[in-house]
């Protein structure tokens, strides 16, 4: 418990960012929803369209909605120019505001629909203008119901805001996602507790406002609003731009698994030593990272040759490790302007792995053996594995036809294998758990999986930033797969866990950096 308390005390910055994001999204949601509600309550077609749209938005998973704003904003750059941010606060704000629309809109429209006809007739009869009727009669009578909608929206928004971590916006989701990746449950719990407490507190404050509106007690209304506003202002003050010791700011992106967290810290520590100011965008969706880099939302990323080969170049052939690397470097320079600084020295390839005892029991030693047994077996893959062309290539090369396919997050995939939930998993060759769990890695004799050399990429805007390149170049070829496995395992193992920072420091020492 004391561990959680310690983490909680260090979440001030994330909490403040979370409060600002949620408050801005709710405010934007209200600003859009209220005029829309007025319009919708006067026009049946508008009502059908707006409520239909808001309901449709609500059916989308919040995670997907957040991710969708990346390509949307990217295409909007054609109108608003290259300065339009595609990651971080703006897309998170827009997605969450959209999410907040429905409860506010629906409650406001319903309140108006159920307003007593004779009161509205009287408003006209005494000679109110449309604006006077709205301000003096419709708005005050709808206020308690609208407030109830705002309360619902606020609680949803605060919960969904934790997901904005995946598009590079700091929030209380940061400890949750980092904790899920590294199986650090104290981090996960701390993030959840903080988010839940914030939601409950907000609900109580807005509930006070709602009661004040219903009972026509102004003290309750202004008291509740005042405390809420104070919290937002305090958050803004906490995050006020600090005087920095100078230095260019470099943003390092990381996908959502331990290796990426560790390498980001390794790079970050070097850059800070070289006088740069470093920011991290952790937990980015794998599909988002490359676009984020080429559009300058992040400055440095670590990616893998096979991933870029299939996802960016859309290639399915396998001309060999060297040819793939050379083609990629060339392609990035020509098409995106991204600079591939070099290979780090290890490969994180996909490989199919089994528990040794299970493989023995089934008599499986090769991929061909696996193919024969596959109809009776369950394969576990990370959330994107079965959608990836590499999987299709391997499946077709060996004629794999599994009885069942199951998706797990990378963290739980190994536990699924150990616990017998899956017979085979899509393991990663740099993962420390392969050795730790004594897994059998089935050799890819047909070379159906492409190579996955880890690459260091620098955004087009920094492609000729000599100081930056100089600080990063010593990393090229410096990390072998044994060192990476050890670092990964130090973060992933159950007991005596290291933080990504600690593992990065140890990795740097071992690599002689």
């Amino acid at each position: 418990m004391s561990e959680i308390a310690e983490i909680l005390s260090g979440l001030g910055g994330k909490l403040a960012a979370h409060v600002l994001l949620a408050a801005a999204a709710i405010a934007l949601g209200i600003t859009v929803a209220l005029p829309l509600a007025v319009w919708a309550s006067r026009n049946r077609a508008v009502r059908r369209i707006t409520l239909g749209f808001a309901s449709l938005v609500q059916t989308m998973p919040a995670l997907a909605l957040l991710a969708l704003f990346f390509p949307i904003l990217l295409s909007l750059r054609a109108i608003f120019g290259e300065g339009l941010p595609t990651l971080g606060f703006l897309p998170a704000l827009l997605a969450l505001a959209l999410y907040a629309l429905l409860p506010i809109l629906r409650n406001a429209v319903t309140a108006r629909e159920h307003m007593a006809g004779e009161v509205l007739e009287a408003a006209d009869g005494v000679g109110m203008t449309a604006w006077q009727k709205l301000r003096l009669v419709e708005a005050p009578l709808a206020a308690p119901y609208v407030m109830a909608g705002i309360r619902t929206a606020a609680v949803w928004t605060i919960g969904a805001a934790t997901l904005s971590t995946t598009i590079g916006q700091p929030s209380l989701g940061d400890p949750i996602f980092a904790g899920l990746q590294t199986q650090n449950w104290a981090l996960v719990l701390a993030g959840c507790i903080a988010a839940a407490a914030l939601a409950l507190l907000t609900d109580a404050l807005l509930g006070t406002v709602e009661r004040g509106l219903a009972q026509r007690k102004r003290a309750l209304v202004w008291g509740g609003l005042g405390v809420a506003l104070l919290g937002v202002l305090l958050s803004g003050w906490t995050l006020r731009p600090q005087e920095r010791a100078g230095g260019e700011t470099i943003v390092i992106g990381a996908k959502s698994f331990s290796e990426q967290y560790i390498l980001a810290r390794l790079i970050g520590a070097r850059l800070e030593k070289a006088g740069f100011t470093v920011k991290y965008r952790d937990g980015l969706g794998s599909a988002v990272v490359h676009e984020a880099l080429t559009t300058g939302a992040i400055d440095i990323s670590i990616d893998y040759t096979g991933t870029l080969w299939t996802n960016q170049l859309k290639r399915e052939d396998n001309p060999g490790r060297e040819a793939i690397y050379r083609t990629l470097v060339e392609w990035e320079r020509e098409t995106t302007g991204t600079r591939v600084l070099g290979r780090l020295g290890f490969e994180n390839a996909y490989a199919l792995a089994m528990r040794q005892d299970r493989a023995d029991a089934l008599g499986i030693r090769t991929m061909e053996d696996l193919a024969r047994a596959s109809p009776r077996l369950t394969i576990g893959g990370d959330v994107e594995f079965f959608r990836r062309p590499e999987w299709v290539a391997v499946r077709d090369a060996y004629g794999l036809d599994f009885g069942r396919e199951r998706n797990f997050t990378t963290t739980f995939m190994y536990d699924a294998l150990t616990g017998g939930e899956a017979d085979v998993i899509s393991a990663y060759t740099s993962d420390g758990r392969i050795a730790a769990d004594r897994l059998l890695v089935l050799e890819d004799t047909k070379q159906a999986f492409p190579s996955y050399d880890a690459l260091m990429l620098v955004a087009p805007g920094h492609a000729s930033n000599q100081r930056l390149i100089a600080a990063l170049e010593p990393l090229v070829g410096a990390i072998d797969v044994e060192a990476m496995r050890e670092a990964n395992f130090a973060v992933d193992r159950q007991g005596n866990k290291q933080s990504p920072e600690q593992a990065a420091a140890q990795l740097a020492r071992r690599a002689g950096l």
Binding site: A116, G117, E118, V119, L120, E121, A122, A123, D124, G125, V126, G127, M128, T129, Q132, L136, V137, P140, L141, R216
Partner: protein
């Protein structure tokens, strides 16, 4: 004797809802300070006709002149501020006190109204100042309709439009409030048009009774003429009801 110019003049007013001809070419002059009752069965179009006068209903055809001016040339809200409007639903604003309800007309017109004036208006409808801070849900039906009348009078209207104003009240309250409105009509020099389905009420309060049937005015008489048997069969059928009741009551009393 030259007729004085009518305060309200309806010319061929027509309103149709789909296949139903609610108001069918009604032409009508209302003399200043007259108390006119508009009587008819449900669906005869009397409420619709009344509402064309303050533009709660826009006629399809025809014109309405207020003191010689076409009301279509006025903003609807400006027109309504010159007319008091009392209706069966009353429609007190539930989030406003009695004082705020009464003061709403002057307030939206940008005028101020002081406590003394609110007190005077309350007195007009025979309520004392202790009601001023109450909310509508704390009042009885009769008290609410009194406030409704006071609200309609707060703007010193020339014309008072009443749509079944006492329809939801108990008979005792209904009778008392009817008399009160008749008194106010005379005291304040109003021109009053009251829609009712109750012929007895019309005969007792009005000095001119119009009978409507299927969107048309089928009788236009004084109460005296109606009681003398004029106005045609529809009007006489309506007059027969209270007359029969009165006779039956007299027989019971022996």
């Amino acid at each position: 004797m030259a007729e004085p110019a009518p305060i309200l003049s309806l010319q061929d007013v027509t309103k149709r809802y789909g296949a139903i001809q609610a108001v069918d070419g009604v032409s009508l002059d209302l003399a200043d300070r007259s108390f006119v009752a508009l009587v008819g069965a449900s669906g005869s179009g009397k409420s619709t006709l009344l509402k064309t006068i303050n533009r709660l209903v826009e006629p399809d055809k025809g014109a309405i002149l207020l003191e010689g001016e076409d009301i279509r040339r006025l903003e609807p809200h400006a027109l309504r501020r010159r007319m008091g409007y009392v209706f069966q639903g009353i429609g007190l604003f539930p989030h406003m006190t009695v004082t705020e309800n009464i003061a709403i007309g002057p307030r939206i017109a940008g005028a101020t109204i002081d406590a003394a004036r609110v007190g005077a208006l309350l007195q007009l409808v025979e309520l004392d100042g202790s009601y001023s801070a109450r909310l509508p849900h704390e009042l009885s039906g009769g008290q609410r309709q009194r406030i409704g009348v006071a609200r309609a009078l707060a703007c010193n209207p020339q014309v008072l439009l009443m749509d079944e104003p006492f329809g939801a009240l108990d008979p005792v309250t209904r009778n008392a409030l009817g008399r009160k409105v008749r008194d106010l009509h005379i005291r304040l020099g109003l021109t009053t048009l009251m829609v009712t389905h109750d012929m007895a009420e019309a005969l007792l309060l009005a000095d001119r009774v119009l009978v409507m049937e299927q969107g048309r005015i089928v009788a236009d008489c004084t109460p005296h003429e109606l009681l003398a048997g004029d106005g045609g069969s529809t009007a006489q059928a309506l007059v027969a009801v209270p007359r029969e009741q009165a006779r039956a009551l007299a027989e019971l009393a022996g």
